[in-house]
């Protein structure tokens, strides 16, 4: 989809893929056939720019046809560069301006609690995004409000647009900061599926505190020439690079395009 779009974010979606896939296929209570079901858990992508993983998973779940992915970022499609809830089934909020998703999630969690509902809200955050002050306003509120129906997942890939996170504005010690804000903190390898699943289970059973899963990840995970390289934050692969990347992931461009277009 990124090759077709000729623009978009590549590195971050790949660092999120393992935990985001686990979240939708193993953790979330949702019904792709009824995207507005009042019984559903909600996912807020505070890092709106990871639409390639967000949309791919929604399509794989059945929220919309896979072929729509080929119209990502195109006028004729419904998949905006950054997600808009009015355009795309399964997108819960319009994000893209960083630092806003955690506050939205606090509101959702508060609403569920007002209604004594068991629904949960998950918020996908980036590390660079934790440089935004609004994240800390939300973190303070979630801790003080004891929102144990809120689980944040921090994609700690140590890369942001302009460079390595430590070289731009280090957010560490990030676990200590969230502990100080009255959160339950779980640190995991964000590419270890067992650790990911266990972390979501622990988050669900933790009472009296919101949980943040700090997932140490690798930008561009799974594609050798992208891994760990911040230059892949906001660019799409060329056709040649896309072919090579898909080859490393066990498919090829023709086969993958065909799969998307016929489903």
């Amino acid at each position: 989809m990124l090759v077709e779009a000729k623009s978009g974010h590549t590195g971050g979606p790949l660092s999120c893929t393992d935990f985001a896939t686990t979240l939708y296929f193993n953790v979330l209570n949702h019904d792709p056939g009824n995207p507005t079901s009042p019984d559903r858990d909600m996912v807020i992508y505070s890092i709106g720019h990871v639409t390639p993983v967000n949309y791919s998973i929604l399509a794989e779940c059945g929220y919309f046809p896979l072929k729509d992915l080929m119209e990502f970022r195109k006028v004729e499609g419904h998949l905006q560069g950054h997600p808009n809830r009015l355009d795309t089934p399964g997108v819960e909020a319009s994000t893209g301006s960083l630092g806003q998703g955690l506050s939205i999630s606090v509101g959702i969690a508060s609403g569920f609690r007002m209604d004594n509902k068991p629904n949960r809200v998950y918020c996908v955050m980036g590390d660079g995004e934790n440089q935004e002050g609004s994240i800390w306003e939300a973190a303070m509120a979630a801790g003080n409000f004891k929102l144990d129906n809120l689980c944040a997942i921090l994609d700690l890939n140590n890369c942001q647009i302009d460079g390595h996170m430590e070289d731009i504005m280090d957010i560490n010690p990030i676990a200590d900061k969230y502990r100080a804000f009255k959160w339950n903190v779980i640190e995991i390898d964000g590419h270890d599926l067992v650790q990911i699943r266990d972390a979501f289970a622990t988050a669900k059973s933790t009472k009296g505190k919101p949980t943040i899963i700090i997932a140490r990840t690798v930008m561009g995970k799974g594609v050798s020439f992208m891994e760990g390289d911040y230059n892949w934050h906001g660019v799409a692969p060329s056709l040649e690079q896309g072919e090579k990347a898909l080859g490393e992931l066990g498919t090829n461009y023709a086969e993958w395009s065909q799969r998307l277009l016929t489903n």
Binding site: S94, I104, G107, A109, S110, G111, A141
Partner: protein, 320 residues
């Protein structure tokens, strides 16, 4: 209403009208939720907070967080009203209002108190003079500036009945009460408070009262001024404005706001396409406020009835 009666009217705060209506809404609709950022007393949420503590959230001094907590609440079917001073409710939260609320057309109601110069002694930092412009430029947003205590109550109830983002401008000071409990109110429908055919004065907020006073003074000189209360700045009542322009041939706008991008600009945008007529703009002339008693500030900044009279006489010289 003659001048004598106008000067004898009661004075009440629009922010109190909001607070009383919000409490009533709390009783009428279990989905109504109220949020503030450490200004619950100032924005008169005490009535609501007392009756519905489980549906009241004090976010502390963190307006951006409050704004998007409201967004989240709307996503699970609540009707959140968040309130603080207008400067902070809009300019400080603008990105949240633009991208999270308006882009997604979320059902969030924003109440900005301390709009205008009547905020007084706290000075420029606290006198919202540009928030109507900031809000009306955003797609999907409804913008309302009630003229008095009762209209603030009606507007508060009316915005709860429509789906989508709304901004309510409220004031700190007690201002003349021009309407009553049973006056009609419809979002997007301007109210003509006084008929006249020589000039139309279009105003919102406290400037409706100043305009009525001006109209009374003008009548002494044989000038019949129509006074229109344009409480809804967006969506704007084009038909009422065009009729006024056609029938009066000249328009003066009056607002407690910057003359740029505010209500007057909205009126000009509407008229220039269908019935351009000579116009004058009474409002704050591209400058920041200062500290001082509110009513004195209206005089210093040229927002009193006499200033509207001057603007009318000026525009009439250009009328064909």
């Amino acid at each position: 209403m003659i001048v004598k009666e106008l000067t004898a009217v009661d004075k009440k705060k629009t922010r109190e009208g909001f607070g009383r209506a919000l409490a009533q809404l709390g009783h009428d609709n279990p989905n109504v939720v109220a949020l503030t950022a450490d200004l619950g007393g100032s924005v008169n949420m005490r009535f609501f907070a007392k009756d519905f503590p489980d549906r009241f959230i004090n976010c502390g001094v963190a307006e951006q967080n409050m704004c998007n907590i409201a967004s989240g609440l709307s996503l699970v079917g609540k009707i959140p009203f968040f309130a603080t001073f207008g400067c902070f409710a809009t300019a400080r939260c603008l990105d949240m209002i633009r991208t999270t609320i308006c882009y997604a057309n979320l059902n969030v109601k924003i109440a900005g108190s301390h709009g205008g110069l009547l905020t007084g002694e706290d000075g420029a930092s606290h006198q919202a003079l540009e928030e109507l412009g900031l809000m009306r430029i955003l797609p999907n947003m409804t913008v309302i500036a009630p003229c008095d205590f009762w209209e603030a109550q009606r507007a508060t109830k009316a915005v709860a009945d429509i789906d989508g983002p709304c901004y309510l401008r409220l004031g700190r000071a007690s201002i003349p009460v021009l309407t009553d409990e049973n006056s009609p109110f419809e979002i997007g429908k301007a109210v003509t408070h006084r008929e006249g055919s020589d000039v139309a004065i279009v105003a919102c907020g406290v400037m409706v009262y100043e305009s009525l006073m001006a109209a009374e003074m003008l009548s002494q000189d044989g000038i019949n001024a129509r006074v229109i209360n344009l409480h809804t700045i967006k969506p704007i009542d084009v038909d009422t404005l065009v009729s006024a322009a056609e029938e009066c041939g000249a328009v003066v706008t009056a607002e407690e706001h910057q003359i740029h991008c505010g209500m007057g600009s909205a009126v000009a945008e509407a008229l220039v396409q269908r019935c351009p007529v000579p116009m004058e703009f009474v409002g704050v002339q591209d400058r920041f406020g200062i500290s001082g008693p509110g009513d004195e500030l209206l005089k210093v900044f040229g927002l009193k009835d006499v200033d509207i009279v001057k603007a009318v006489k000026k525009v009439l010289k250009r009328k064909k």
